[in-house]
Symmetry: C2
Subunit: 285 residues, 2 copies
């Protein structure tokens, strides 16, 4: 499928990068945008990627609507988008709730849940880039037929297509590779701060090296994106945290009991897992 | 003080790098080595940094003995080294136990607890390098007079001298910036593996990005060094783990109660701490 009339809902970094990538590949494709922010509308227009950028849904029809808005907003506008477009695709980083909603709204054949794992340090349409998706993973969910329909079109943006079986698997994978990892970075930072307080030290930044910087780096991200994302994926993230807590309690036990052998086993199990996760693998198809 | 006769106990990466740095600065200084490993003795001799490399303590006297062996070994040979050298300095990454022992052995004025935070990905004398310490932190403990005596000499290796008040403060700082951080990297990796098992996925390496790679990187280190180090610093590391567990339990509570406001507070407290720890600070003198 090569959609010729496309509506981008949410003209921020991802939405406008998509609009630009689409037009870069084929300038004859018509791309309209919907953007509630006055400022973002103006910036989106300046990119020249859109025919029109509307403040609300226009009275028109499209081959494809792309929901490039936060997950709660995507859920709220799904029905409206489905009225105006043959296929609706979202690009949110959590999938279970919107997939459930799409089924309830009878969109099993017309909804394409997707997740481009792309971004940059900027925000909004001014940071958009037509090559944002090049070489980056773009996750599609196997049990949604519209994903198969759109797959060749997504590949044409030079994204690296990755298939995950179900929305639940996607969310579990995100908890493991992203959302839970983010919380561990936060936890590592806060525990260091508590330990410094305990020693009445202001901080120990003069003693930190690359290990500390790498592990705690993500804790510096602004939390606007993270709070709704984590909340949306709270079930899988909750399981991840429980597993983390189990490991910490086992580590505490090893130290208290001075059980070097058991401590060595925990470290070597982690090393085995990391070694496995560091070699390229195929998706679990 | 400019020691003219030096005994390096343990001719591995750190010991031999020191021997080379010493000779590089002043070829007239006499440096002997003690190394139990036959192979490391041969490699250490090849560097040309030592007059002799002995298999056990020689029958000679020195201005300075440098204990560049694992902490348990350093404790075991402290008394012998003190018989043969005017000042004994160690370079171990945990300080409380050896400082306690040095006090018990009446070495309060002759023992210099120190910790060069330097290394490379290699091991043994073959990986040694006379510029290993350049620009790297070298921690000295304030309440040990021999540290003040040696400070100008250590500065001459272009190391960045950092003072910490007490051995206990040093160990607490290491729990916060290194040992605990290492365990959080391990915990993050293991929780990801548990979550993949839960979803019957082999692994999700095809979905990992820079965040995952940075946070879990340390879990790939070999554990020969880590098990004794963590065990030696179990008190401070235990406190760090307890603080980490508290944060994880608070995060679990936020997700269960769908309390976005409280979740945002945890994230923003971590961001504030990370911001503070990312700006250069003075040591807590």
């Amino acid at each position: 499928m090569q959609p010729q009339r496309i509506l981008v809902v949410g003209c921020g970094l991802i939405g406008t990068s998509m609009a630009r990538a689409i037009r870069d590949k084929d300038p004859d494709v018509l791309v309209d945008g919907v953007e509630v922010s006055h400022r973002h509308r103006a910036l989106a227009r300046e990119t020249g990627a859109y025919r029109h950028v509307y403040a609300s849904f226009p009275d028109d029809t499209y081959d494809l609507a792309i929901l490039a808005v936060p997950i709660q907003t995507a859920c709220a506008v799904l029905a409206q988008a489905a009225k105006q477009a043959s296929i609706v695709m979202d690009v949110c980083s959590v999938k279970a709730s919107i997939c459930k909603l799409a089924k309830e709204q009878g969109l099993s054949l017309r909804f394409a849940p997707s997740h481009p794992m792309a971004g940059n340090s900027g925000q909004g349409p001014a940071s958009s880039n037509e090559s944002l998706f090049q070489g980056q993973p773009w996750i599609l969910i196997e049990d949604w037929p519209a994903c198969k329909t759109l797959a060749p079109w997504i590949v044409s943006f030079d994204a690296r297509l990755e298939w995950v079986k179900t929305a639940e698997q996607h969310d579990a994978a995100m908890a493991a590779v992203s959302h839970g990892i983010h919380l561990m970075s936060i936890t590592a930072m806060l525990a260091a701060a508590v330990e410094a307080d305990h020693s009445h030290a202001h901080n120990w930044s003069f003693l930190t090296g690359p290990g500390f910087r790498d592990v705690t780096r993500l804790s510096q991200s602004p939390h606007d994106f993270w709070v709704p994302t984590l909340m949306e994926n709270r079930q899988a993230v909750g399981r991840y945290l429980m597993a983390a807590k189990d490991t910490i309690m086992e580590l505490e036990r090893c130290l208290e009991a001075e059980d070097s052998e058991a401590l060595g086993r925990v470290l070597s199990t982690a090393k085995t897992a990391k070694d496995e996760w560091s070699t390229p693998s195929h998706p679990p198809l």
